[in-house]
């Protein structure tokens, strides 16, 4: 079946531009996560949605980062006034259930590589 898809796969932005990154989770998955992966590092949590509700945004690095999932399926991560330090791969993951633990297998998309010049 279809996995998690993300678009665009690559995005180059000039410093100060706004960008929008899209995530299409696996159909029926309740939970949706965004992670940021810097070069050579592990993914770092940004934000979490349970259906359309954003329940945890503790990992968003600044108020320039904004995420939404208005209908409980597709999600968009928006970064305003991009800075060079925003350059990273942005990963989206979805899981079937809304709780943690062993039932929480997260399925990751291929990521969007953002380069800010």
């Amino acid at each position: 079946g279809a996995g998690v898809s993300q678009s665009p796969r690559y995005k180059v932005a000039k410093r100060g531009q706004d960008v929008a990154l899209r995530c299409d989770p696996i159909s029926g998955h309740v939970s949706l996560f965004w992670y940021q992966q810097a070069l050579g590092q592990g993914p770092e949590f940004l934000t979490y949605f349970q259906n359309e509700a954003q329940l945890d945004k503790s990992g968003l690095p600044s108020d320039r980062f904004f995420a939404e999932r208005p209908e409980g399926s597709v999600s968009t991560l928006k970064i305003q006034r991009t800075q060079q330090e925003d350059s990273a791969v942005y990963l989206c993951a979805s899981s079937l259930v809304s709780s943690g633990g062993a039932s929480n297998e997260q399925f990751f998309g291929p990521g969007t590589r953002l380069t800010v010049l």
Partner: protein, 115 residues
């Protein structure tokens, strides 16, 4: 705050050998420990996972060993193959009220298996 520490950063193993990657955590409120495998240009994919009430879990050539008292866990890849060459991440899921299931990842280990 780094809560999961992974070592080594890189590893080179001969085909047929055993690859061992180690992780240590600081927060005792973790209750799920998955390992993810990532190939270049791809997202991480779940390889194997363990809960803290089990000391070992084996799936094919992959084994997780878990030491709760030492707060350490490791991934063993038996009979390593060139196709196993990838980056491996350990992770942990916090267990507290309102837990959303977010994962805390280690820094990653790049494994190269030489033919």
């Amino acid at each position: 705050q780094q809560q999961v520490k992974q070592s080594p950063q890189s590893l080179i193993v001969q085909k047929g050998g055993i690859s061992i990657i180690n992780c240590a955590y600081e927060n005792t409120a973790f209750d799920y420990f998955p390992w993810y495998q990532q190939f270049p240009g791809k997202g991480p994919a779940l390889l194997i996972a363990i809960r803290p009430d089990v000391s070992e879990k084996k799936e094919g050539r992959f084994t997780i060993s878990f030491n709760k008292s030492a707060k350490q866990f490791s991934l063993h890849i038996m009979d390593s193959q060139p196709g196993d060459s990838a980056t491996y991440f350990c992770a942990a899921n916090p267990n507290y009220s309102g837990n959303t299931g977010k994962l805390i990842f280690g820094q990653g280990t790049t494994l190269q298996v030489k033919p």
